[in-house]
């Protein structure tokens, strides 16, 4: 790396001439650029999977990608829809979406009204009729990542704390800390309790933050949970809502995996509970998006939904920076208008996920690997460390490296998800095709057998 990321002050051993010549990138940007990626499991894993990708014919010994939470199982359905449908605006949307209207500056950066209306209806359908979403409370952004960042900006000042049930989605660290500089404090769930968090756990994390002089501003949770692959029960959600009410903090519920629930457990959205007294809905905000349910992360469509008018108004201002192209909105309006197709797609997708999970579950059981029962999302939480007696983070990472470079599967180590118990791994099972998945599961089984 060249001299451009030298710090102007405080950098040891840099002589004065170098300091004068080099133009520092801002201190706050250094953390984003710098950092030794060579030891970061996420990047190492991605690098290996991309540079040495498995191919049945050309590279049978290559690395199989089980670290990306993406769902390609039903992509063919969507592709077929796009190739057979005209995505020009339907006559009833001609006024809003004709080219003249869409090429100019959007009246609203946070999503064209017709797009938000259809997104709200889509969410109504996905959530199974238990909730009615209001397009006016919806802010559409270029991906859920942007929506989360906007919420972090609106709810917390730099250095403030969000409590996060752990293990949690590794991307949160990046999303919160890069620019928003919000501190994430994990609230550990334990295996003996199926990794469910407790009121006591929340209370402890809250008190510890206060003692450190940090202000806790919100709880941030993914529901259904990434990486656990399970839903929160109604009681758990009520407990969390009550905690949030008592402490007068916010709740951010990232429900991006709603709609990808395939198991027998029920999904309850926080939206179903929040409007009942004594809860105050202006404390609650939902993150959603199209990346997971429709398998189209490339479209970059996410949203935040809030009952808090001030949050909505502040967020609107920030969507100047993260606005979805009107062309994309127009195409998606066509897609979202076809509710019959969407229903078909969602149920077919759930079926595919269920079948894939069965395949994985069977293999894990055969290999004797404990896992959390998976009912939602594209991943499962597996204790691989148990077979080799992992008892520390270092041992977990050793095992992870072995899995990556010797066994040839890229999985996510629990430490990257802030799990307090060593040896757990997130295994994504919806990205590769059946044949590849089978090969991956065989490899894992063989590895387990070899070390037992």
């Amino acid at each position: 790396m060249e001299d451009v990321n030298l710090n102007s002050t405080g950098a040891k051993g840099i002589n004065q001439e170098q300091v004068l010549l080099s133009v520092p990138v801002a201190k706050r940007a250094l953390a984003i650029i710098g950092g030794d990626k060579s030891v970061d499991p996420y990047y190492m894993g991605m690098h290996e999977a991309q540079s040495n990708p498995y191919d049945a014919v050309h590279n049978p010994g290559g690395c199989i990608q089980l670290g990306l939470s993406e769902n390609k199982l039903s992509l063919d359905l969507l592709e077929r829809w796009f190739s057979t449908h005209n995505t020009s605006p339907a006559p009833e949307y001609e006024n809003f979406l004709n080219f003249k209207a869409i090429a100019g500056y959007p009246d609203v950066y946070h999503g064209l009204p017709v797009f938000r209306k259809l997104m709200a209806k889509f969410m109504d359908d996905v959530y199974g009729g238990g909730v009615t979403f209001d397009p006016e409370k919806m802010i559409i952004t270029t991906g859920a990542t942007s929506a989360i960042e906007i919420l972090a900006f609106c709810l917390a000042d730099p250095g403030d704390v969000f409590l996060v049930p752990a293990p949690y989605y590794p991307g949160f660290d990046r999303d919160m800390k890069f620019r928003s500089q919000v501190d994430l404090v994990p609230v550990p769930g334990l295996s003996e309790n199926d990794f469910c968090i407790t009121r006591a756990g929340l209370e402890q994390a809250f008190q510890e933050s206060e003692i450190r002089g940090k202000k806790v501003k919100a709880i941030l949770m993914t529901s259904p949970s990434n990486p656990l692959g399970k839903t929160y029960s109604r009681d758990q959600l009520l407990m969390i809502l009550d905690f949030v009410r008592e402490k007068e903090i916010h709740l951010i519920a990232d429900e991006i995996y709603a709609g990808s629930v395939f198991g027998t457990s029920e999904f309850t959205s926080i939206a179903e509970l929040v409007l009942v007294p004594p809860f105050n809905p202006s404390q609650v905000h939902i993150i959603y998006g199209l990346s997971k349910i429709l398998g189209i992360p490339g479209f970059r469509v996410g949203l935040l939904y809030s009952w808090n008018d001030e949050v909505v108004n502040a967020a609107k201002k920030l969507t100047r920076f993260t606005s979805v192209p009107t062309l994309t909105q127009q195409i998606l309006v066509s897609l979202l208008s076809d509710s019959r197709f969407l229903q078909l797609y969602i149920s077919e997708n759930q079926k595919q996920l269920r079948e894939r999970w069965c395949l994985v579950k069977e293999a894990l059981q055969e290999a004797g690997l404990p896992s959390v029962p998976c009912t939602a999302g594209f991943f499962c939480w597996v204790n691989v460390g148990q077979v080799v007696g992992v008892t520390s983070k270092e041992q977990e990472l050793d095992l992870w490296r072995k899995l990556l470079y010797e066994v040839g599967v890229n999985v996510t180590p629990g430490s990257a998800c802030q799990c307090t118990e060593s040896g757990w791994f997130r295994l994504c099972f919806a990205f590769v095709d059946n044949q590849t998945m089978t090969v991956a599961l065989d490899r894992i089984k063989q590895f387990v057998d070899s070390v037992r």
Binding site: T142, F153, G298, E310, R320
Partner: protein, 458 residues
């Protein structure tokens, strides 16, 4: 499950009656973001839905946003033919932008205005030049640092650098109030003054072609400012978003900052290495191509740190793959691009001439422009006193009496009251004629009134 809104209403009543208050405030920075728009932006937003047409004579002529409708038809037809949704659209892409679009934009910039070789590796794409600026300022400045900007300048720059990044804009008024061409002397003075106030200048932001003036920076000025800024340890960001909107004889005088930088290196004024680190150019599809709804902007930078930053941060402001795809196809059609730029320039010139010929006939003073889509009007003689309050009143009178909405000079951070920016491309030429006649009629009325009130001064 009851309808949500009914329950909400119930809660609100309870709140009031119990005197309960919920302490779930926004963060400090979130609250700041709630600061209401200035009145002129509010008026713009309201007027958008009530614009003048022959059948709506009470409507407004919106001349306060830099938007061109002149060549929509050309883009419309082209994009219609590029709108397939490819198989790869679903998947995550490179957060610096897909390779195809980066290459297409790089080639287009190289061919049409940069005058130097443009490598794909040095181009990163984000959701609009606004997003490019937002990321750029975060990367180069810490909160509380400053950015020098020759005034008058594009009003939204303040928002773009301050709202999320806490960067202080430092307007630099031109010493030369005829040409407005800044010099390094003013820049240095402004930098020193800022430092005295505890603001550390980190960036020099230049827009060329200029907004709101619609003029071009001479090569000598660009070189002078570049060398001064780089030697002072600043980053230089040149926003060339209007680079393909040029008309008139002086249009040939446009030179990109990238070209100026390479000249400076050849003349041994700056080293190749420092130029690579500190000189950056922004471009986008919103102005020259009128595709502001597509939200596509890019930064051209050879600073490896910046590129790495974009790779990591790009996902917060990425462009949808399908839009990238459609745009790539359009920009790869070089014949189309050349035809479009030439035709668009012709139409801009025509509207500019309609506007200014009518102004000249009424002796309304304006700054001759040869680029972009707006004109800087000098209405100082209409002010009863040279104050911004008087300018505000004049702005309001223009709106209320003549239904004309212009951008007041104060919003552009110009120090002297009485100037206005008018965008002449935001309506078809036939409407522009009506709008300009209204403007000159207004000026004429005001002059007569002033003559009556102040018979000596005029």
């Amino acid at each position: 499950m009851k309808n949500g809104s009914a329950d909400e209403h119930l809660l609100a009543d309870e709140e009031e009656s119990n005197g309960a208050h919920y302490k779930c405030f926004l963060s400090k920075r979130g609250s700041k973001a709630l600061t209401p728009f200035s009145p002129y932006i509010q008026a713009v937003n309201e007027a958008k839905n009530y614009q003048w047409t022959p059948t709506n004579p009470e409507g407004y002529f919106l001349m306060a946003t830099a938007e061109s409708v002149l060549s929509f038809d050309l883009i419309h037809d082209k994009i219609r033919s590029c709108r397939e949704v490819p198989a790869t659209v679903g998947l995550y892409g490179d957060f610096r932008g897909g390779n195809r679009l980066r290459k297409a934009i790089a080639k287009m910039m190289e061919r049409t205005f940069m005058g130097v070789e443009v490598s794909t590796a040095n181009v990163c794409i984000s959701s609009g030049v606004t997003a490019v600026l937002d990321l750029f300022f975060f990367a180069t400045c810490d909160a509380g640092d400053g950015c020098l900007i020759p005034a008058p300048y594009f009003p939204a720059f303040d928002n773009d650098m301050a709202i999320r990044n806490g960067v202080e804009p430092i307007p630099v008024q031109p010493a030369d109030t005829h040409t407005y061409i800044p010099t390094a002397v003013e820049m240095e003075e402004a930098a020193l003054a800022a430092e005295k106030k505890g603001i550390n200048p980190r960036v020099l932001l230049i827009t060329n072609p200029g907004n709101p003036l619609g003029t071009l920076y001479p090569e000598s000025t660009l070189k002078e400012l570049l060398v001064w800024a780089v030697n002072r340890g600043l980053h230089v960001l040149c926003d060339e978003i209007y680079a393909n909107s040029k008309f008139g004889p002086s249009a040939n005088e446009f030179i990109s900052m990238e070209k100026v930088a390479s000249i400076a290196v050849n003349e041994n004024l700056l080293s190749e290495k420092t130029v690579a680190q500190r000189v950056h150019t922004a471009y986008g599809m919103s102005k020259d191509f009128g595709m502001s709804g597509f939200r596509v902007g890019c930064i051209h930078t050879r600073n490896k740190g910046m590129q790495k930053f974009w790779q990591n941060m790009g996902m917060f402001a990425a462009v949808s793959n399908d839009t990238q795809h459609a745009l790539s196809i359009m920009l790869e059609d070089e014949e189309f691009v050349d035809y479009y730029v030439a035709e668009n320039n012709r139409r801009l010139k025509k509207s500019y001439e309609i506007f200014t010929s009518l102004l000249r006939a009424e002796n309304v003073v304006y700054m001759p422009a040869c680029a972009a889509m707006f004109c800087w009007l000098d209405l100082r003689s209409l002010l009863p006193e040279p104050t911004f309050e008087a300018e505000d009143r004049l702005w309001k009178e223009l709106k209320d009496e003549s239904r004309l909405i212009l951008t007041p000079g104060r919003a552009c951070h110009y120090a002297e009251p009485g100037f206005f920016r008018a965008c002449y491309a935001s309506m078809p030429p036939e409407h522009l004629t009506v709008a300009t006649q209204r403007l000159t009629a207004f000026v004429e009325r005001k002059r007569r009134k002033r003559k009556a009130e102040y018979p000596i001064s005029v």
